[in-house]
């Protein structure tokens, strides 16, 4: 993954050998008159975990929410620039947001299971997208998704109990199961562990590592340790700018930009 500075037009083409699945070019985001992101250009490789780090209010969540167009929900939010997923411009007029979001799963900061049964939580997505034809297939999908999310063993005897009755960590894994039940290509995670205790966090991190085989994961995190533990690629945001992006070890050991270094060593943030 490479980042290219806004001014340096000659370097717009990514230099990475592997084909990136998500490419962002000069993405600006405005909340009314306030600019929240300035010309973000970033490549996100397939089947890897990319973490977006940076101090509060730096725009990392805003960027994440551009990728599945969740920002459309905010009336005053305006996005310019280009984001392509698998070569397709997602801000094109012809793009159906509903079908886009079906392929880009999202896991939110606070676990937000539907106040329905565990089964219904996972089954909802496949059902509305008509991914399954029979009740048996639906059961299979639910079971497979829960198993991939590492939750099946804990809940298999109480699938009809409310999802909101689970512990915080279990709820978050339920949300992950819900997201993967619709077979997305990309999973976006917005600080998925910020509301969880260290043990639940460890479980989620383990899960993220396993999911990387089949999915591209973009994760926003406050915790640099977490970024270092789970991600292969890291992008550092600061005050609406993408300061630096690259292989995680490189960012953490030999940051190029002084701001990155200050943040990593705890001087800003």
């Amino acid at each position: 993954m490479n980042v290219v500075s806004h001014e340096d037009k000659s370097a717009t083409e990514p230099q990475s050998k592997e084909e990136p699945i998500i490419t962002a070019r000069n993405v600006d985001v405005f909340y009314a008159d306030k600019q929240a992101l300035n010309g973000i250009t970033l490549d996100i490789p397939a089947n890897k975990v990319t973490s977006l780090i940076g101090p509060s209010g730096c725009g990392k969540t805003t960027f994440l929410r551009c990728i599945n167009r969740m920002n459309d929900l905010i009336d005053i939010c305006k996005v310019t620039g280009e984001i392509k997923i698998g070569g397709q411009d997602i801000y094109d007029e012809k793009v159906d947001v509903v079908s886009l979001r079906a392929q880009i799963g999202m896991v939110f900061q606070k676990p937000n299971p539907f106040p329905k049964s565990i089964f219904e939580n996972v089954a909802y997505g496949p059902r509305i997208h008509r991914l399954v034809k029979t009740k048996g297939e639906l059961n299979d999908v639910v079971e497979r998704s829960l198993s991939k999310a590492g939750l099946l063993e804990e809940v298999k005897d109480r699938l009809d109990e409310p999802g909101t009755g689970l512990s915080g960590g279990q709820q978050q894994r339920l949300c992950i199961a819900r997201a993967i039940a619709v077979e997305p290509k990309v999973i976006l995670m917005d600080e998925p562990c910020s509301a969880l205790d260290p043990i639940a966090t460890a479980k989620i991190e383990e899960l993220i590592d396993e999911l990387r085989e089949n999915y591209t994961i973009v994760i926003v995190t406050h915790s640099m340790q977490q970024a270092a533990r789970v991600s292969q690629q890291t992008a550092f945001f600061h005050m609406g700018n993408l300061v630096e992006a690259g292989v995680t070890e490189q960012i953490f050991t030999t940051p190029q930009d002084p701001r990155t270094e200050s943040y990593i060593t705890g001087r800003i943030g």
């Binding site: 599945n68 969740m70 929900l73 009336d75 509903v98 079908s99 886009l100 979001r101 079906a102 392929q103 799963g105 999202m106 939110f108 606070k110 937000n112 299971p113 539907f114 106040p115 909802y124 997505g125 509305i128 997208h129 909101t164 949300c175 819900r178 997201a179 039940a181 619709v182």
Partner: protein, 418 residues
């Protein structure tokens, strides 16, 4: 170390202010409760009597000289009742006194007799004891509402009449029974026969129309405004207008109903259909405001969760947000209905203030409503109607309490934690 038991003057003042404030609150609640008990208590005291009714028994000579089995319809039942009264008090001879004597039973006693005879023709041929509704003054006297220490000329019952009543009572031919006519009858000019069923049915029909119109329109308006409408100057304008409509005096809606539903569309006057339509104009703002508030109370994370896995906005709203908001919407609707149940003014404007004896069976029949019935009875001069007024208020209050209870139960039952 400082002494924690020491209080600075400022701290003492703060504690005193706190205690004072608590007492203000307690006394405010005490005063409010006091007025509530006073109101309900006085209405109950006045109205409880209307749930019983005085009946008196007469020996009716249903013998062949007065009535023939072949012509039950044509018999003079009025004369039979009068004859029975005269037989009970043979010493009454003067014309004026006889008229006073006949006044002891309800003017409809002859119809009661006819109904009984038609229902059971075997009564004919012998003298039978039959119970009749006493006139309202007898009823008032038995319930102790007539002050017999007053001058005879200023009261409705003279000493002779009181003597007769006492005599009948001594014979065991007078008793107080549960007043079923009050619950099963329509309005009447005679207080002893007036009932609330026609008004109650009118209210029930109007409220049904009101609910069927205002609930769907209200919640769909609320869902659209809250979940789908763009937030711009127009939606702001609409919101302000809805909030203002909630505060418009109800008689204005009545005038609107008169001008549009009756005069322009020519819908039937005095009908529960128009009543319900006018009441739904009045309840709509309440339902919309309450529904929007309960939609807003659903955490946005639920919407995001649904949209995040690719639900369309309509699916997100109807699969997740609306079911969570529904208890609140129902509560709002029921509270709006309760307000509509108690409202009189708009119904006066569309003619639901008429004297309705028949019990309405459809939404196009002429009808009146409970609060209007109360208003009508409160306006009547007879002492007995005062009792009816309070009793009808009690019935209305019972239904208001029941509706609010349903609202609470629905909220408890369907409320989901998230």
């Amino acid at each position: 170390m400082t002494d924690f038991t020491k209080q600075s003057p400022g701290l003492k003042r703060r504690h005193a202010a706190e205690i004072r404030f608590q007492w203000y609150g307690r006394s405010a609640i005490f005063i409010a409760l006091g007025f509530l008990f006073l109101m309900v208590g006085s209405i109950t005291m006045n109205g409880i009597g209307a749930f019983t009714q005085t009946k008196l028994a007469l020996e009716i000579p249903l013998t062949s000289e007065h009535i023939s089995v072949d012509d039950l319809e044509g018999a003079n039942y009025d004369a039979l009742v009068k004859l029975a009264l005269r037989n009970t008090f043979p010493d009454v001879t003067k014309r004026r006194d006889k008229r006073k004597l006949y006044g002891l039973v309800s003017p409809y006693a002859s119809f009661q007799l006819k109904d009984q005879v038609l229902a059971d023709p075997t009564l004919v041929g012998k003298t039978t004891k039959i119970w009749f509704t006493a006139s309202d003054y007898v009823d008032m006297y038995i319930k102790g509402n007539i002050d017999i220490s007053r001058d005879e000329k200023t009261r409705k019952l003279n000493n002779a009449q009181i003597g007769w009543i006492d005599a009948i009572q001594k014979q065991g031919n007078l008793e107080k029974v549960f007043n079923s006519a009050f619950f099963l009858g329509g309005d009447s000019r005679e207080p002893e026969l007036a009932g609330i069923l026609s008004a109650f049915m009118g209210s029930a029909l109007s409220l049904s129309v009101c609910f069927l119109l205002s609930f769907p329109i209200g919640i769909f308006a609320a869902i659209y405004l809250e979940e789908f409408a763009p937030k711009n100057r127009w939606s702001g304008f609409i919101e302000i207008n809805i909030n203002n409509l909630a505060a418009v005096p109800s008689i204005v809606f009545g005038l609107l109903g008169l001008a549009i539903f009756l005069n322009f569309f020519g819908l039937p006057r005095s009908s529960p259909l128009v009543g319900g339509m006018v009441l739904s104009l009045m309840t709509l703002p309440t339902i919309i405001i309450a529904s929007r508030a309960s939609l807003r109370a659903v955490p946005p994370s639920i919407r995001e969760a649904a949209l995040g896995i690719g639900a369309s906005p309509v699916q997100a709203a109807f699969h997740h947000v609306v079911p969570l908001a529904l208890p609140g919407m129902l509560t709002g609707a029921i509270i709006g209905m309760a307000r509509a149940l108690g409202d009189t003014a708009p119904l006066l404007m569309i003619g639901m203030v008429a004297f309705i004896v028949d019990i309405p069976t459809g939404i196009l029949d002429k009808a009146t409503a409970l609060p209007v019935q109360i208003f009508l009875w409160a306006d009547s001069p007879e002492r007995a109607f005062q009792e009816k007024t309070s009793a009808a208020i009690l019935v209305l209050l019972v239904f208001l309490v029941l509706m609010n209870l349903v609202a609470i139960i629905l909220r408890r039952k369907f409320e989901q934690r998230f």
